[in-house]
C-alpha cells in the first residue's frame, strides 16, 4: 500500500494510505487521549476527546479517531484551545460521575481517572448531578454500575462487532441514554467479559475481582490458557502469590473459560496429598509411600506379566515437558509402547497429516471463510472471534453450514441450513456441475471467485466428510484449514509422541527409528509398537492389560461405562488435580500441580510453541507431573536427571526436529512433520468407548470438561439449553 506524509506536531512521518489521523499521531509518537476508541473496533467518534487541529480545514477541531489522514496533512495534537475543549469534555463527564474511586475496582487503571489527573481538573463550574442508580447485581459474573458509565459504547460495539452477540445496546436518548440489555433483563450471553475488559471506567466490573485487590498491587505473569486448543495468551494477575484475576495477553481476546474459569484451580476439592488404597478405601499417605508402592507394583507386574501388560494414558492438558517425560518413562523405564491419549477419539481425521491449521490471526487474509462446524464458537472461541473479526472488520464473506441458528447466522453471507455432510456434497456438486439449490450455487460461486479460502474443519469427521473436504479443496485455488481442537495441549501431546506407534516428532516406530531413539535416550526400547487407547481398554476386559498409569485424564468421568472396565485392573495409578471419577477407582492417587502452578510449554492448535509460567505455588503437596514421573523413574532404576523444565525442553529440541530452532511464539511449519501429506490417520474410532454424548443442561462453552465444571464463576451462569 502506498504511503503518505503527515506532519504531527512538527514531526514528519510516513503512514499507509487509509490511516486515520489518530493512527498517524500514534505513529509519530504523539499521544492523543481517547475514551471511546479501541483498535479492535470501528471508529465511533462519540467522546470528542481525541480532537486535534488540522491546518487548512474549515472546522476548528477535528476528531482524530474517525477522520482519515490525507497526504501532506499538518496536525497539531495540543494547543490551549484543544486542552480547553478536552477539559470541557472531562468536566461534563464528571458532573454525573459518582467519583467513588476508593471503592471502584477500576481505580488505578481507569481512563477517566487518568485523564482527569492529566488535565488537572479542579472544582467544576457546573452543579453536580449525582443521580445514584443502584448497581445491577442480577447478572452472573458481570456487575453493571450505570452511574459510572460514560456511554462510550465500547461494550455495545465489542459485543456486536467482535463477538456477534450484541447483548448490550444503547437505550433511551439524550441524558437518559444508558447501556442496557433487552428490557434490562440479566445477561444471557457468552460471558466472555470482553465488555468488562474494554470498559474504560468502572461501569462494568466482575464479581470475581470485586474488592479483591487494587490494580496497582497486582503482578502479572504471562502464561497460556489451559482450556481449549486455541491457547490464548493470558496474564495471571497475582497479589501476594495468589491469582486475583486473569487478563488477555497475546490474542487480545479471552473467552469466559479463559477469563473466569481459572478459579477451578482454587477449588476446595483440589487434591493436596497423595492417597493410597488401604482395605478398599483411599487414605492420605506420604509421597514416599505412594511413589514406592507405584515403583514396586510396576516392577512386580513387569517381571510377572511382562512390560506389554502395562500401559499409560497421557493427558492433552499437561505441558509438553510432562508429556515428553511421561512417554519417555513408559518407553525407557517400563519398556512399553502402550502409550496413548483418549482425546484422539475426539479429533478430526486427517489432523496433522492433511489438516494443518493456519494461524488464527490471519483468518482475515482469506476472502471466503467456510464454516463446517456450527459449534466453532463454543469449541474454539478464539477461532469463532477471528471469523467474526474477519467478517465485520475486513468485510470477508462467510459461508456457514448450520442446521440450527446461532450467532454466526447473523453475519453469514450464505447459510447452508443442513448437515455438514449434505452441505459438502451439495457444494462439491455445485462446484463441478453447477447444479443444486440457490444457496449452494451462491456459495459455490463465492468459493470459485475467491483467491483463497479458509475452511473450518469440524472437531470430528466421518470418512465420508473427510473425503468430501479433500474433494472440495481440490477444486479451489488456495485453501487454509482451521481444524477445531478441543484441548489445550492436544497438539503438544502428539508432537511429544504420546502415541503407541510414533516416537516424538512423528517418527514411525520401526527398526531404524528405534535404533536412533535408543541411541538418543541411551536406553533399551521395546521392539514392537504398542496398543492404542481403544486397544488398551479392550485389553483390560480380556485380561491382557494388568496395570494402567493415567496422567491427567478422566476416562470414567467421560464415559461411565469405563468404570467397570477400569476396576478389573490389577493396578491403577491416577495422577490429577482432582479426585475424579477415575481417581476414585485408583490404587494410588497422586496430586498434580495445575497449569497455573508450574512452568513449561504448550503447543496450541496452530502448532505455536508457548511458554507456560508459574503464577502461584502448587497447592498443598501437589507437584508438577514431570517431577512425579521422574521420581518414580528414579525409584525404578531409570536415569532421568532433569533439573527443570528447561532441561526437558532442551532435550525435546534435540529429539524433535520441528522444535529444534522453534522460537517461543512461533508455529512450526507443516513441512517439518514426516507425516505431512501422508495417509496416516492420527484419530481413533471406537464403536463402544466414549460414544454416548453427555447430556448437559448447559452450553458446550460452559461445560466442556471436568475442570471447567469445577469453576465457581462459570457455575454461576445458569443456562437451560439441553444438548444431546
Amino acid at each position: 500500500m502506498p504511503n503518505m506524509t503527515v506532519t504531527v506536531d512538527g514531526k514528519k512521518i510516513e503512514v499507509p494510505m487509509g490511516s486515520t489521523i489518530l493512527e498517524a499521531c500514534t505513529a509519530a509518537g504523539s499521544r492523543v487521549p481517547t475514551l471511546c476508541h479501541d483498535n479492535k473496533l470501528h471508529p465511533f467518534g462519540a467522546c470528542r476527546i481525541c480532537l486535534v487541529e488540522v491546518e487548512g480545514t474549515p472546522r476548528k477541531f477535528t476528531p482524530s479517531c474517525t477522520t482519515p489522514a490525507t497526504d501532506n496533512m499538518v496536525v497539531k495534537t495540543t494547543s490551549p484551545g484543544l486542552i480547553e475543549a478536552r477539559r470541557m469534555v472531562l468536566e461534563l463527564l464528571l458532573i454525573k460521575h459518582p467519583l467513588d474511586c476508593p471503592v471502584c475496582d477500576k481505580a488505578g487503571e481507569c481512563s477517566l481517572q487518568d485523564l482527569v489527573h492529566e488535565y488537572g481538573l479542579g472544582p467544576s463550574r457546573f452543579d453536580p448531578e449525582k443521580g445514584y442508580l443502584p448497581p445491577d447485581y442480577e447478572s452472573a459474573i458481570i456487575e453493571r454500575n450505570i452511574s459510572r458509565c460514560i456511554l462510550c459504547g465500547k461494550c455495545v460495539r465489542i459485543c456486536d462487532e467482535q463477538n456477534a452477540v450484541g447483548e448490550w445496546a444503547f437505550t433511551r436518548r439524550g441524558t437518559r441514554a444508558r447501556i442496557s440489555t433487552d428490557f434490562d433483563r440479566p445477561l444471557d450471553c457468552e460471558f466472555c467479559g470482553e465488555c468488562v475488559e474494554i470498559c474504560p471506567v468502572g461501569a462494568l466490573t466482575t464479581r470475581q475481582f470485586k474488592y479483591k485487590a487494587r490494580s496497582w498491587n497486582l503482578e502479572g505473569t504471562a502464561s497460556v490458557c489451559n482450556y481449549c486448543g486455541c491457547g490464548c495468551g493470558v496474564s495471571y494477575e497475582t497479589r501476594e502469590g495468589r491469582i486475583m484475576r486473569v487478563g488477555p495477553a497475546r490474542s487480545n481476546y479471552l473467552c469466559t473459560k479463559g477469563r473466569f474459569g481459572w478459579d477451578a484451580v482454587h477449588h476446595a476439592e483440589r487434591l493436596t496429598t497423595p492417597k493410597m488404597r488401604v482395605n478398599g478405601e483411599l487414605v492420605d499417605c506420604t509421597w514416599d509411600e505412594a511413589l514406592s508402592i507405584i515403583a514396586t507394583n510396576l516392577k512386580v507386574i513387569k517381571s510377572r506379566h511382562g512390560a506389554e501388560k502395562i500401559g499409560g494414558l497421557g493427558s492433552v492438558r499437561t505441558t509438553n515437558e510432562d508429556s515428553y517425560v511421561f512417554q519417555k518413562f513408559l518407553r525407557t523405564v517400563v519398556e512399553t509402547n502402550n502409550i496413548d491419549t483418549l482425546a484422539r477419539l475426539k479429533t478430526p481425521k486427517g489432523l496433522n497429516t492433511t489438516f494443518f491449521s493456519g494461524e488464527l490471526n490471519k483468518m482475515a487474509s482469506h476472502e471466503v471463510i467456510l464454516v463446517l462446524d456450527k459449534n466453532v464458537g463454543e469449541i474454539n472461541p478464539l477461532t469463532g472471534i477471528e471469523i467474526v473479526r474477519a467478517v465485520n472488520k475486513k468485510d470477508r464473506k462467510l459461508i456457514l453450514v448450520n442446521d440450527e441458528f446461532n450467532k454466526f447466522n447473523k453475519i453469514a453471507t450464505v447459510v447452508l441450513p443442513t448437515s455438514t455432510v449434505n452441505a459438502l456434497e451439495n457444494l462439491v456438486k455445485a462446484l463441478s456441475s453447477g447444479a443444486g439449490s440457490e444457496e449452494s450455487k451462491r456459495a459455490a460461486a463465492m468459493l470459485k471467485a475467491a483467491k483463497n479460502v479458509a475452511i473450518i474443519v469440524p472437531a470430528q469427521l466421518s470418512d465420508n466428510e473427510f473425503t468430501l473436504i479433500r474433494d472440495l479443496a481440490g477444486k479451489l485455488p488456495e485453501v487454509t484449514y482451521y481444524p477445531l481442537v478441543r484441548r489445550s495441549n492436544f497438539q503438544g501431546s502428539l508432537d511429544m509422541g504420546v502415541m503407541p506407534s510414533y516416537y516424538p516428532g512423528y517418527r514411525k516406530i520401526d527398526e531404524t527409528s528405534t535404533a536412533d531413539f535408543a541411541g538418543l535416550w541411551n536406553a533399551v526400547l521395546p521392539e514392537t509398537t504398542g496398543m492404542n487407547a481403544v486397544e488398551m481398554i479392550k485389553a483390560i476386559t480380556q485380561g491382557k492389560l494388568a496395570a494402567l498409569y493415567i496422567m491427567g485424564d478422566d476416562p470414567a468421568g467421560s464415559d461411565p461405562g469405563l468404570k467397570g472396565i477400569l476396576q478389573k485392573l490389577e493396578f491403577l495409578v491416577v495422577q490429577d488435580i482432582f479426585l475424579t471419577e477415575t481417581a476414585k477407582l485408583a490404587h494410588v492417587v497422586l496430586p498434580a500441580a495445575s497449569s497455573t502452578e508450574k512452568s513449561g510449554t504448550f503447543t496450541n492448535l496452530e502448532r505455536r510453541l508457548q511458554q507456560v509460567n508459574k503464577a502461584e505455588e502448587p497447592i498443598g503437596e501437589s507437584r508438577p507431573d514431570w517431577e512425579i514421573i521422574q521420581d518414580i523413574a528414579k525409584k525404578m532404576g531409570g536415569s532421568m536427571k532433569y533439573g527443570s523444565t528447561r532441561d526437558i525442553l532442551a532435550e525435546i529440541r534435540s529429539v524433535v526436529p520441528a522444535y529444534k530452532d522453534l522460537a517461543f511464539g512461533a508455529c512450526w511449519a507443516r513441512e517439518k512433520s514426516p507425516l505431512a501429506g501422508m495417509a496416516d490417520d492420527l484419530s481413533l474410532t471406537s464403536d463402544s468407548i466414549m460414544k454416548q454424548e453427555v447430556i448437559t443442561a448447559e452450553r458446550l462453552l460452559f461445560s466442556s470438561g471436568m475442570t471447567i465444571t469445577r469453576s465457581h464463576e462459570i457455575g454461576t451462569i445458569r443456562h437451560y439449553k439441553i444438548e444431546v
Partner: protein, 592 residues
C-alpha cells in the same frame, strides 16, 4: 346558461382541522341534490386541494365559474347551502364571505414555484397534476437529456439544498454520478422536525407528485434504481397521499421498471420515521432506515461514499426535490433569474408567531425580511412592536428588529448569526423574553439529543440548566460568560449538526440581547414580563375601585379586600397566572 363550475376545498392538515371534511361533504350533498345539476347544466367538479398557505383563514373554498375565481374564507358547513344556491346556481358571489384585500396582499409579494400547484391540484388525483404539466419534466429528461445534462441544468439553476445547509444540489449529484458501486440510493428527507415548521408536510400533502417527479429526475441523473422517502409517522395525511401518489405514478408507468419505455428503473419505498429530530441528520436517517438506532455517525465516509446498506446514497430534502421538475420544465435561466447572486430561486417559509397572517409562504431569495413581516405577514398582532425574528428553528438564531432590512438568503442570514434552516420563521414581539426563547429551543434540542457524544448530551443539558435558573431568578454572576464558553465548546466539539448548532439560539440571543440576560441575573427582572418567577402582581390603590372582579377570577384566592375599597394581593399565595391583570378594567393591577 351553460357553465363550467369547479369547487376547490382546502384539505391540507390545516383545512381539515378547521372542518374541511364536513364542508366538502356538505358541498357534495348539496350539489348532488336534485336540481342542481340541471340548473348548472354543465360540468360541476369538486376537488380537494392542498394547503394554499393562508391557514389562518381556513376553511378556504374556491368557486370557479367559467374561469372566474372567487375565494371564500372561514367557511363552515352551514354556509354551504347558501353558496350553492346564490353563487353556483344564481351566479352571484356572496360578498360578505369572500376573502378580504389582505388575502391578496398576503399573496402579492410571494413567488410560487414549489407551491405553485399546491392549492390548485387535487393531491389525490394524478390527472389533476398531469393537467397542469405534471411529469412533463420526466418526459423531457428521459427523451432529450443525458444524466450529465440533467445535472448541468440543475447546476446552471443554482439550486441549493433546502434542508438547511444550502449545499449545491448539482455538486451532490455530481459526486453521486461519479460514485461507483453495484447499487445507489436516492433518499428524500421528509423528516421535518423543527418546532413550528410545516413546509415539507404541506408540499407532500398538497402536491406529492412534484416530489415524486423530482425524485425520478434525481434518480435518472445519478443512476439510482432505488429511492426512499423518509417521512415521519406524525404526518399521517402526507403519508397517505404519498402512498396513493406512488401507486398512481406506478400505474401510469412513471415508477417501476422501464419508465416510459426509456429503460429507466426506479421505485420508491416509504419509510416512516418515529419522530426523532436527530433522524433528520443524514447518517442517523440512514441508520434509522436500516433498522438501527437513529444515531449519527462520524463523517467521512459521507453518505455519497458509503450510505444506506453501505452503498452510495444521496439525500435531498422535500423542497429541493420539488423544485427540480419546475426547473427542468421552465429552464435553468428562469430559475436563476430569481434570488441573489449566490442564493437562487425561492424559499418556502412557515411564518408563525406574533404575526397577523401566519401561514405558509414562498418568497424569492433575497427579499428583505421587512417585506415578509409587514407586507406578506401584515405586521404584528395586536399592534405590538416587533422585537425579533427567529429563523432556522432550534439550530438558528434571532434577527433583532433593528436589522429587519436583512435580506433572506443563505449568506446574509449567516452573517447576522442565524441560518436559513429548513424555513421556520417565528416572529417575536415586545412581550417575548429572549432568555425564555433561548430556553425554549434548548429544551427542544436537549430532549432531542441522541446521547451519543458527550458535548451535546451533557453540554446541552447544562446550557438548559443555566438558562432555566436565569429565568427562575437564580442566575449567578458569570453565568453569561459560562454560557458563552460552554456554547462555544459544544459548537466546536459535537459530532453532528444537532449538537454543532444547538447553542446557536443561546449565542445569538446573548449577542443581541445581553442586557436582557443581565437584567434577569443582576436585577432579578424580566423586562418582557414573561418569566413567572421574576414577576409580581400588585394592586395600585389609587386606581382600584373595589369592584371585586379580580377576586372572582383569582384561582388561588390570593386577592383580598372589601367591596368598593382597594384590594390587595397576598404575594405568598399568588401563582402569577395573570388572570387579575387581564380582568381589571381600571388598569389597577401592576405587573412587574
Amino acid at each position: 346558461m351553460n357553465k363550467d363550475v369547479s369547487i376547490k376545498v382546502c384539505m391540507g392538515t390545516g383545512g381539515i382541522a378547521a372542518g374541511g371534511v364536513e364542508v366538502m361533504s356538505t358541498f357534495e350533498k348539496a350539489l348532488a341534490s336534485v336540481g342542481i345539476k340541471a340548473a348548472v347544466q354543465k360540468n360541476c367538479s369538486m376537488h380537494k386541494v392542498g394547503c394554499r398557505g393562508f391557514c389562518a383563514r381556513d376553511v378556504l373554498v374556491d368557486v370557479i365559474i367559467d374561469g372566474t375565481k372567487s375565494t371564500y374564507q372561514y367557511i363552515k358547513p352551514d354556509m354551504v347551502e347558501r353558496i350553492v344556491q346564490e353563487h353556483v346556481v344564481g351566479g352571484a358571489p356572496i360578498g360578505d364571505w369572500l376573502v378580504t384585500d389582505d388575502y391578496h396582499t398576503f399573496h402579492d409579494k410571494q413567488v410560487k414555484v414549489v407551491l405553485s400547484d399546491c392549492g390548485e391540484v387535487d393531491p389525490e388525483d394524478i390527472d389533476s397534476y398531469l393537467g397542469r404539466g405534471g411529469y412533463e419534466a420526466v418526459k423531457k429528461v428521459l427523451t432529450t437529456m443525458t444524466p450529465q445534462e440533467t445535472i448541468d441544468v440543475i447546476k446552471a439553476s443554482g439550486l441549493r439544498g433546502r434542508g438547511g445547509a444550502g449545499f449545491p444540489t448539482a455538486v451532490k449529484w455530481d459526486m453521486a454520478i461519479k460514485a461507483t458501486g453495484p447499487k445507489k440510493y436516492l433518499i428524500c428527507n421528509a423528516d421535518e422536525g423543527d418546532p413550528g415548521a410545516f413546509m415539507d408536510r404541506s408540499v407532500v400533502e398538497g402536491n406529492p407528485h412534484a416530489v415524486i417527479e423530482g425524485m425520478i429526475i434525481g434518480a435518472y441523473a445519478i443512476g439510482a434504481p432505488h429511492g426512499y422517502v423518509y417521512i415521519r409517522a406524525e404526518y399521517p395525511l402526507a403519508v397517505e397521499r404519498l402512498h396513493l401518489a406512488i401507486k398512481q405514478a406506478k400505474e401510469r408507468g412513471y415508477l417501476g421498471k422501464n419508465i416510459l419505455g426509456k429503460g429507466l428503473d426506479f421505485m420508491i419505498k416509504v419509510k416512516l420515521g418515529a419522530g426523532a429530530f436527530v433522524c433528520g441528520e443524514e447518517t442517523a436517517l440512514i441508520a434509522s432506515i436500516e433498522g438501527k438506532r437513529g444515531q449519527p455517525k462520524a463523517k467521512p465516509p459521507f453518505p455519497v461514499q458509503k450510505g444506506l446498506w453501505g452503498y452510495p446514497t444521496i439525500i435531498n430534502n422535500v423542497e429541493t426535490l420539488a423544485n427540480v421538475p419546475y426547473i427542468i420544465r421552465k429552464g435553468a435561466s428562469w430559475y436563476a433569474a430569481m434570488g441573489t447572486e449566490k442564493s437562487k430561486g425561492t424559499k418556502v417559509f412557515a411564518l408563525t408567531g406574533k404575526i397577523l397572517n401566519s401561514g405558509l409562504i414562498e418568497v424569492p431569495m433575497g427579499i428583505p425580511l421587512k417585506e415578509v413581516i409587514y407586507d406578506i405577514g401584515g405586521g404584528i398582532e395586536n399592534g405590538k412592536k416587533l422585537k425579533a425574528v427567529q429563523t432556522g428553528g432550534p439550530s438558528g438564531g434571532c434577527i433583532p428588529a433593528n436589522m429587519v432590512d436583512t435580506t433572506l438568503d443563505y449568506e446574509s442570514l449567516s452573517k447576522v448569526g442565524s441560518i436559513m434552516g429548513s424555513g421556520g420563521m417565528v416572529v417575536l414581539d415586545e412581550t417575548d423574553c429572549m432568555v425564555n426563547v433561548a430556553k425554549y429551543f434548548l429544551q427542544f434540542t436537549q430532549s432531542e439529543s441522541c446521547g451519543k457524544c458527550i458535548p451535546c448530551r451533557v453540554g446541552t443539558k447544562r446550557l438548559l440548566e443555566i438558562l432555566t435558573r436565569i429565568t427562575e431568578g437564580k442566575g449567578r454572576e458569570g453565568d453569561i460568560e459560562l454560557l458563552e464558553s460552554l456554547a462555544a465548546d459544544v459548537k466546536t466539539s459535537s459530532l453532528c449538526g444537532l449538537g454543532q448548532s444547538a447553542p446557536n439560539p443561546v449565542l445569538s440571543t446573548i449577542r443581541y440581547y445581553r442586557d436582557e440576560y443581565e437584567a434577569h441575573i443582576y436585577e432579578k427582572r424580566c423586562p418582557a414580563g414573561v418569566c413567572k418567577d421574576l414577576l409580581s402582581y400588585s394592586i395600585l390603590e389609587e386606581f382600584c375601585k373595589g369592584c371585586t372582579a379580580c377576586t372572582r377570577v383569582c384561582p388561588a384566592g390570593a386577592i383580598i379586600g372589601e367591596k368598593k375599597k382597594p384590594h390587595k394581593i397576598i404575594q405568598d399565595i399568588c401563582i402569577k397566572c395573570g388572570a387579575c391583570f387581564e380582568t381589571c378594567k381600571f388598569k389597577a393591577i401592576k405587573k412587574g
